[in-house]
Amino acid sequence: MNGIPSSCAPFDADLSALLDGELTPDREREVRAHVAECGRCAGRLDQLRAVDEVLGALAAAPVAPEVGAAVRDRVRREAGRTAPRRRRRAPRLRRWVPAAVGAVAAAGLVALVLLDLRSEGPVPMAAREPVPERAGSEPSRIAEAVPPHPAPGPDAGAPAPAPPPTLDEVSDEEIELALALEHLGGEGEIREWELIENLDLLEKLEALEARGSG
């Protein structure tokens, strides 16, 4: 509001805080005393209060059912991916990927696929336009988005790395799969929806794992 009278100026900036209950008791008494004697500030307080009423009446639309379905599905899959299963997979992957692609980075990439899906972005809703790449979905940004309120716990103990196998021990199928996963990851980041759209790769991975552990 323009042209605040000089007698009101010390109180105007505190009117919002008064509504929000954010003033100290002493200051609240001072501001209330001024408002009780000042028609301008009493009117202004009513205007500010009216804003809250209007905001509170804005639409609270129900979330589309498919959003809830996608969240539930993702959480169930996460819950189903038990820790023992992860521990069983990781050494096997760490063994064959380096030999297959000759790059340690690829091992980290595949480990990311299997061990760290928790920190990936949302699954775009079916029947929507494709979700563009989102900076906030990068693992580093995601870490920033989760506040430290729940104190970070110690990392789950990673299994000791197994010695890499020789190339003779790696099948063509494993090499093909490793290269495909590396391609999918681009510069080292694989997003959940990319994996969802490439379920055939995951199925191959599952089959290889089943054979490897069998």
């Binding site: 509001m1 900036a13 009117l15 919002s16 805080a17 509504l19 929000d20 954010e22 202004r44 205007q47 500010l48 009216a50 804003v51 809250d52 009423e53 209007v54 905001l55 509170g56 009446a57 804005l58 639409a59 609270a60 639309a61 129900p62 979330v63 589309a64 959003v67 809830g68 996608a70 969240v71 539930r72 993702r74 959480v75 169930r76 996460e78 819950a79 928790r118 972005g121 949302p122 699954v123 775009p124 809703m125 929507r128 979700v131 563009p132 989102r134 900076a135 906030g136 979905s137 940004r141 995601i142 920033e144 988005a145 989760v146 506040p147 309120h149 729940p150 104190a151 970070p152 716990g153």
Partner: protein, 192 residues
């Protein structure tokens, strides 16, 4: 801590213990208010729903590290605020605004009583539309601060945590935003 907040903490602790029904209950309780907030922040329903999904996945992902302390809602809105601000900073983000569809229509009774006449209903709709319009024009941090404090009932300290700033700054952000809306509504009323 109020009963509802205690229930949230109980649900979060149950989720930490692996109870997926607790997650479902938290989702049912908070997805609607969260979507409402994110839609105002992003001005786009589909993007808001994507971030609702992402925020709840973060909650699930962090369940084992959860420690009861601050309110669950504060934590959830902090996650959502940071996601929204990240999203708004994307250079390629288009400033789209979709009108809320039939699902999002709060109904003719919002802001007016059940006995309201047609003129009052129309006036209430116009007021809502004006507020949406002005909200969309506010700087994003003002928008977030006002919504979290005035609608979601977060304290300035909690808003400051969500916005990674000071309580003093939040006080200024809230007042500027609320004043801008009040001025606009007052001007419209004086013209009408």
């Amino acid at each position: 801590m109020e009963r509802r907040e205690e229930e949230d903490v109980g649900l979060m602790l149950a989720l930490r213990g692996g109870d997926l029904d607790a997650f479902e209950a938290l989702y049912r309780r908070w997805s609607g208010p969260l979507a409402r907030y994110l839609e105002r922040m992003l001005r786009d329903r589909a993007s808001a729903e994507d971030l609702v999904q992402e925020a709840f996945l973060r909650v699930y992902g962090a369940r084992e590290r959860y420690q009861p302390g601050a309110r669950f809602s504060t934590w959830l809105y902090t996650i959502a605020t940071r996601l929204a601000l990240n999203e708004l900073r994307r250079p390629s983000r288009r400033a789209v605004h979709r009108e809320t569809g039939a699902d999002g229509d709060p109904g003719p009774g919002a802001l007016v009583g059940p006995e309201a006449g047609i003129d009052e209903v129309v006036d209430a709709r116009r007021t809502r539309a004006r507020v949406e319009e002005i909200l969309a024009k506010l700087p994003e941090r003002q928008r977030a601060a006002l919504w979290l404090a005035a609608v979601e009932g977060l304290s300035y300290a909690e808003v400051a945590e969500a916005l990674e700033t000071t309580e003093k700054s939040v006080k200024a952000l809230v007042h500027r935003a609320r004043s801008a809306l009040a001025d606009h509504l007052a001007r419209k009323r004086s013209v009408a």
